[in-house]
Amino acid sequence: MKRGCLAILAILVPWAALAANPMSISEELDAVYSYVGDAHTRGAGLKSGEIDEQSADVKYVVSPQVNKDLLLRFGAEWERFSFDVPDHSAVPRLLQQASGVLGFDYQVADEWLMRVEVEPGIYGDFENINGRDFDAPLVIGGIYLASADVQWLLGIRVDVRCEYPVLPVAGVRWKLSDEWTLNFMLPSPRVEYQANDRLTLYTGAGIEAGTFATGETFGSDHGEPKLNGTIVDFFEFRLDAGASWKITPGVSIEAEAGYMPYREFDFFEPDLDVRSYNAPYGQIACHARF
C-alpha cells in the first residue's frame, strides 16, 4: 500500500567494489550550442557596433557512489563564447573555459542533499596562457526536499577573481500538477508544461556568466591599453521559449529560441564596461544521463 515515491578522496574509492557493481556509477553529459544575432554594443568610450555571438558548452561528469549517502563527481567542462567583433573594439573575440570537475554529492540529513563542486582550469581568452588564466570557482549548494512536489535550493558561488567573489544562489522547483512545474532553478529558471511523457514545453530565462582573464596585450590591441591583462566578468541574460524531447528515458534534446535583452563585459578593475542590447537567439542542447 505505497504511493508513490553529492575529491580529494579519490584515492580512497574502493574501485574493486565499484567495478563489481556497475549500478553504482552514473554519468552525465550535457552539450549546448547557441547563436545570438547582431546586438547593438557600446561602452568603454568606444563605438563597438553590432556584435554576434556563438557559444558552446560540453560537460561530462562521472559519479561513483562510494556509499549509500556519498557520490563523488569527476569530469571535465569546455565552454566557449566567441564574438564577431569589429577591430579595435574593447570586446574579446574569445572567452573560453577548459576545466576539470571535482566534487561530491552528500545526503546530509533525511531531507537535505548537499553538492560541493570546484572546477579548476583555464579561464581566459587563450592568448599567451599563463598562471593568471588559472581559476577554480566553487559552488556549494543544498537542496531541501520539502516534498515530492517542492524542493528548495540554497547555495553560494565562490570565485575569488570575480568582482563579487561570493554570490548567493536560491531557487525552487514546485510541481503544481501533473502537467505544470515551476522550475525556478538557476541558471535556467522556467515554467514547464509537460505535454506528454516525452515532450515538455517551457518558457523562462537563462543566464550565461563567467570570469575570464584577458591577454597581456589585449588592451593595446584593442585601443584601450589599460585593459591589458585585466579580468572581465561576462554576463548575459536571455528570455526564451522552447521544447524538450525525451528520446529515451535517459536522453533528451532541447531546442529553444528567444531574445537577449542585455549582455555585459565588465572590466571592473579599470572600471570600464561594454554592453550589448536586444538580439534574437537560438539554442540547441542535448542532455544524457547514463
Binding site: 500500500m1 505505497k2 504511493r3 508513490g4 515515491c5 553529492l6 557493481n21 549500478m23 553504482s24 552514473s26 552525465e28 559519479s63 557512489q65 549509500k68 549517502d69 557520490l71 554529492d105 545526503q107 533525511d110 531531507e111 542533499l113 553538492r115 537542496i143 526536499l145 516534498s147 515530492a148 524542493q151 500538477s177 501533473d178 511523457d197 528515458p249 535517459g250 544521463r289 547514463f290
Partner: protein
Amino acid sequence: MTRRVACLFLALGAGCFLSVAAVPENSDPVEAIKSYSDFAAIDLGRVLNGDVLSERGSLMNFPNGISAQTCYAMALPADEAARHLQLWDPSAYSELKVFAFHALHMPCDPADFQTLDFQTRQKPVHWLLDKTVATTPARSELNLTRDEARQLAGCLSKQADPQRASKCWAKLLLARASAFQQQGLAGTTPYEVAGEIVSPADQLRNMLLEQLPISHEFLPILKGIGLLGKDAMPSLTPFYYWSLFDADYHGTISLGAVYLLPVGNHFQLIDLEYYVNANYYASASMYEVWPVQAQGKSMALVWRGDFFAAPTIRFTKGTERIAYGALMLQDIKKEIHCMQDEAKTKR
C-alpha cells in the same frame, strides 16, 4: 532456475539454520532487529517516544528496485498491533491520497468491486480513464497482458464513459484477484510493458534475494506465502484488498494481500501488492512486530522494510536516486504517523 538463484536458495537455507541459532526466541527485540536490518543502533527510548527511525536502502543490482527501512513503536500490545497493521485502511487519511480501499471476500465476487468508480472529480482518476480509453489490443501504457488489453479495448469501444470503464476494470481485477486466491503468486499472470514481459512475482523475488539477512529473518512467512521456497501455493490465509490511489498524479489501482504469521513471541507480516495496473510493478512491505514494555504498558516495536519495483528506477541514477529514496521515505513516514495516531485512539 539459474545457478545464481539456486545458490541464493541454498544460502537462504543455511541462513535459516544460522538465524535460528543466532537469534533465540526470547532475545532482545532491539538486538534481533539490528541483526538483520540496516539499523546499526536503535535508541529504544526515542522510538518509544514516537520517533520513526529510518534508513534509505542501499543500491540494488536489480535495476528496477529500491528499498527503505523504518523502525517505530505503536501504542498497542504486539498482537493487536499486528492485526491493526494487517487490516489497516488508509483511505480515511486524505494526506495519503487513497481514494478507495476495499477488502475482498474469499472467494471474491463482482460485488467486491462495485464501489470502483471512475466517476469522480479526482484528476488522477481522469488520467487513468484516459489511459484506459487509449488502450488498444496492440498497445497500452497500462500493465496489461495482450489478452487483457483486448478485453479492455473491446469492453470500452473507445468510449470515455466512466461507469463503463469502472465495470470493465472490475471484470479484469476480479479475474486477477480470483487467480491469486486460487493459485497464490503462481496465479499472477505476467504482463507486457514496452515490449518486455514483466512478472510482479519475479520483481519481488529479485529484490528479496538481494536482501539476504532480511530474507533469512522472514523465511518462515516468505515460504508460507510461496514467495521463496518450493511451495507455490500459500499455506497462510491473508487479508485481501483492492485500492485506488494517486501515485505521482496518476490514478493507480492495486490488488494486494496482507499475510500475518506468529513466530515465537513476535509476529511477521507481509503486505504484497501482487498486481498494480500502472506506474510501477509491485511492492512488498514487510513488518516484524515485537512486544515491548514501556512505563508498565504493553507496546509494539515494529521494524518495517519496503521494497518497491518500478520501471523509472532503472533510469534514476546518482543524486536523483538518493533524492528518490529520501522522498519515498517521506511517504512511508507519513503513512506510519497515520497508523501510530490511529493506534493511540484504539488503546
